[in-house]
Symmetry: C2
Subunit: 286 residues, 2 copies
């Protein structure tokens, strides 16, 4: 069924470029059309063999596509959703790769009845953005969250699942609210903790510049996400404010509790808390 489809990917950055390349390399569908903002990006995607055809013209790129995948920052996805309904044919599946879902699913609910929207969010990425960083194996063995809209039918969900599986990923279906709270905890909070860490070291560097010399692998890993694309992260934070703020507050409470136990010298409780966390972390990633 996927074999006969023409799939258009809008946005050829890390996620879109990798998606297009994976679809093409695995010969998942009939044709992969890439739509980029800049002509150089379109040319590069074609040159790298990530797409069958590339254009900077949205209307031309999506007009005869059976599936359209929106792979831009979240607020651009929302803008695209306002115009794409009238550019695609009846029965078209419209999926996105944005990292928040409530705002996107809301925008999807305004799409005309003749299209089928499905929210998507692959749980993979790198802190380097852009087509240069794209890899056709990016999605392989990764979790791919799928979020149906109010009007999404079972056949559209089935098609979305088979697309996810065709690129080697594993689908998991969530509601928009479940999605946004879960990713706030495991993805958006880590980003803000990484930012707060770098900002704290930056404070200290004013007194003593050697702080950057001393920063070693622990600092490197804990701060890795702070190098994420700012444009992408701004869209994520601003379209998932409530859940992110809740998780920040929870993390701050844990920090206050840890600092309080240190101040009181309550070694027994501190040890119990740190032990439980260590156990959990070891179970998660062996």
């Amino acid at each position: 069924m996927l074999q006969e489809k023409r799939i258009a990917v809008v946005g050829l950055g890390l996620m879109g470029g990798s998606m297009a390349g994976a679809l093409r390399m695995r010969q998942v569908c009939q044709e992969v059309i890439g739509i980029a903002h800049r002509p150089e990006t379109a040319a590069q995607a074609l040159e790298r063999g990530l797409v069958d055809r590339a254009t900077t013209d949205l209307a031309a790129g999506v007009s005869n596509a059976d599936i359209v995948i929106l792979a831009t920052p979240v607020r651009t996805i929302i803008k695209l959703l306002h115009e794409i309904g009238r550019l695609v044919g009846p029965g078209c599946l419209i999926m996105d790769l944005g990292s928040t879902k409530t705002a996107i699913i809301q925008a999807m609910s305004a799409l005309p009845d003749h299209v089928q929207p499905v929210g998507g969010h692959p749980m993979c990425g790198k802190e380097t953005a852009g087509l240069e960083a794209a890899e056709t194996t990016l999605y392989q063995d990764k979790l791919f969250l799928l979020v149906p809209g109010r009007q999404t039918g079972p056949r559209a969900m089935e098609l979305a699942c088979s697309l996810v599986q065709a690129i080697g990923a594993h689908p998991l279906i969530l509601t928009p609210e479940e999605h946004d709270r879960l990713v706030a905890a495991v993805s958006h909070l880590p980003y803000l903790l990484a930012v707060a860490l770098v900002a704290t070291a930056e404070d200290l560097s004013v007194e003593d510049g050697r702080v950057w010399e001393i920063a070693a692998s622990g600092f490197r890993d804990t701060s890795r996400l702070a190098a994420s694309g700012v444009r992408m992260m701004l869209d994520i934070l601003l379209t998932n404010r409530d859940a992110v703020q809740e998780m920040v507050k929870r993390a701050q409470n844990h920090l206050s509790r840890l600092a309080g136990l240190m101040a009181q010298g309550d070694e027994e409780t501190l040890c119990r808390v740190l032990d439980a966390v260590q156990q959990r972390r070891k179970e998660l990633f062996r």
Copy 2:
């Protein structure tokens, strides 16, 4: 000069085992003596060729050593410093590998005049502890902080520097106060942020267990330090309370500011803050 020395390493875990092995592999000195708490550890270090000789008897192990390296958790180092002065010969250099320095340097100041103490702190490690994880290349190309005590002479510092260089590391000399503030920011704060992250996800897992399924590479890296040895970290936190608490407070302030900017929708300021942090992080680790 190092060539003629007998070096005793007290504590054969990750750091001590790696130190002993590096000294021996690189043929830095005349003899490497390992002192372990448990006979099995002593036997294993000998079997792996990390030491020339191994014992569980502290007095016998250090009695004719020219250099003694204390490689245990911080509070055990402090205990050992109270008894080791009378076990070693005149002129002995006593160095440690503990992750905090103010409390250790204070304990070193009570050592008898006939020994030369130097605080040491190699900026490397892994979240897996124990002799099994020891590697003779652990210190290679890493920074090695050195902190002289009040009574430490220039010849002792020279000897400590040449030992550090002999295992492939780079010495950097700091005061105890400088040391403890700097490492609180780049090492102890990241640990507590990692702990707070895992604890927050644990909170959420009570409502929705899929949180652990969704945790991907960003969560993995940001939380890595939460798997650190609890015994070691407790000693670090409890002997560096003031600096750690200051850094936690600073990080919390940054988190509050970020959350505030999100709540106000002050995109311009938020973008400026995130951009500056991204730039810094990219400069640090390319």
